[in-house]
Amino acid sequence: MSSDPGVHESRHPTLKQYVGIAIFLFVVTIVEFVIILPMEFRGAGWTIAPLAILSAIKFAAVIFFYMHLKFDNRLLTWVFLGGLALGFAVVLALVGLFTAWTPSARSFADDHAKPCTLDHELGGCLEDRVTAPPPVEPVTDPPETGSEPTPAEAPAAPAGGLVATGQQIFLTGQGEGAATACFTCHTIDGVPGATGLLGPDLTHIGTEAATRQPGVSAEDYLRQSITDPEGFVAEGVERAVPGLMLPALTAGLTDGDVDALVAFLLEQK
């Protein structure tokens, strides 16, 4: 082994240099470890810069000496550094694209985190499916205020506001009061998100309701089905889980909510 590490003589570093680099790498790693030793330094923002610099130094020591780029053809250095630079660019681009440079590691999640009640029947979060359907026609005028529909809104049927409110309660369970969202159990074809499978299909309930109970109008039948689900359960209604529509589910609804729901259901012809 030559004592002269010069480029002309040996294309590889000497044993002494190798040992020196090994010790150097060890020491740098120990320094890195010591930086994060105190509890209050762990994960602290200012540690990132020194840690990144130290690991870059280790990185360079290994490629230039252990991998002897320093003693090799220059082209190899460019080949490798080219790939490294591209890799770095990929990192910057992806992080820039996806995190929009949020100020802290958690801030994105903190801003976007939402409660999730696991739906064991269908998978996913119940909350997701409540908010999933596209916004129904804007419910700008609650029925009680009876504001004049502007010409732009005119095409809506007179009960349009009420029907829309009903649909929203059906899909979210949130009216003036609150109930378990009806869509979790009931399907209505044509209403996005209303895909529940536990109770009867309500796609044509607007017409069927009148036939359920002799002498009871569709409207009254629907009202009763909602406010007092146990009161009368029509025969021959196909449903997966009979008796599941418990009074407690709808007890929180106000009269106004029920009016809206009934109006909405009557539209399902």
Partner: protein, 226 residues
Amino acid sequence: MAHHTEISHHAPEEEHPTTTGINNRKLLMWVFLSSDCLFFGSLIATYMVYRGQSLVGPYPVDIIDVPITTISTFVLLCSSFAMVRALAATNEDRQGAIIFWLLTTAVLGAIFIGFQVYEFNLFKTEGLRIDTNLFGTTFFTLTGFHGAHVTLGIVWLLGLAWVAKRGRLGPKTALDVELAGLYWHFVDIVWIVIFTLLYLIGGFDTGPAGDPSLVPHSITGFLGLI
């Protein structure tokens, strides 16, 4: 040379002039390592993008064990030293030393993998699996692919040790050892990056309730650095 042909088709690099002036196998190795930077770059980017975005635990701070991994990092650094010794022994035609250092490198690599298997198992019992949260997915994918690289390197080194045992490694076939060494050192530098990013910097990340000011985004730190 005749007995060398079946394991190595090249003559010492000086005897084969190439347009680049570099032995083609060696150039290929460097091009491969260069492209592997992109491979690991994407995985590292994915980790950084999803860093701190897990909505359920365990979070890094709950399970990352920096001291243990510092030890395995030392083991990998030692293996790189053993690797350069193996190449030096090959250049100097010290047959016993070639085998010794090749095997030492492989064994140190295997110890590193042992640490990783231990760590993965521990994480699993502590509730972190690859499908538990974004941290689990990105962590296991990145460190798993690194572990796969190390494992491949071990197989390569053992193969070389076997060739050496048959007396077929020496100054004229030193490139065989050199290429394995390049690969091995590359795996080492990838670990240098992973260790810093996933353990020293990201290892203390907390869950959503944690104080965000304690968990700076890695990139913001990088920008502050520039």
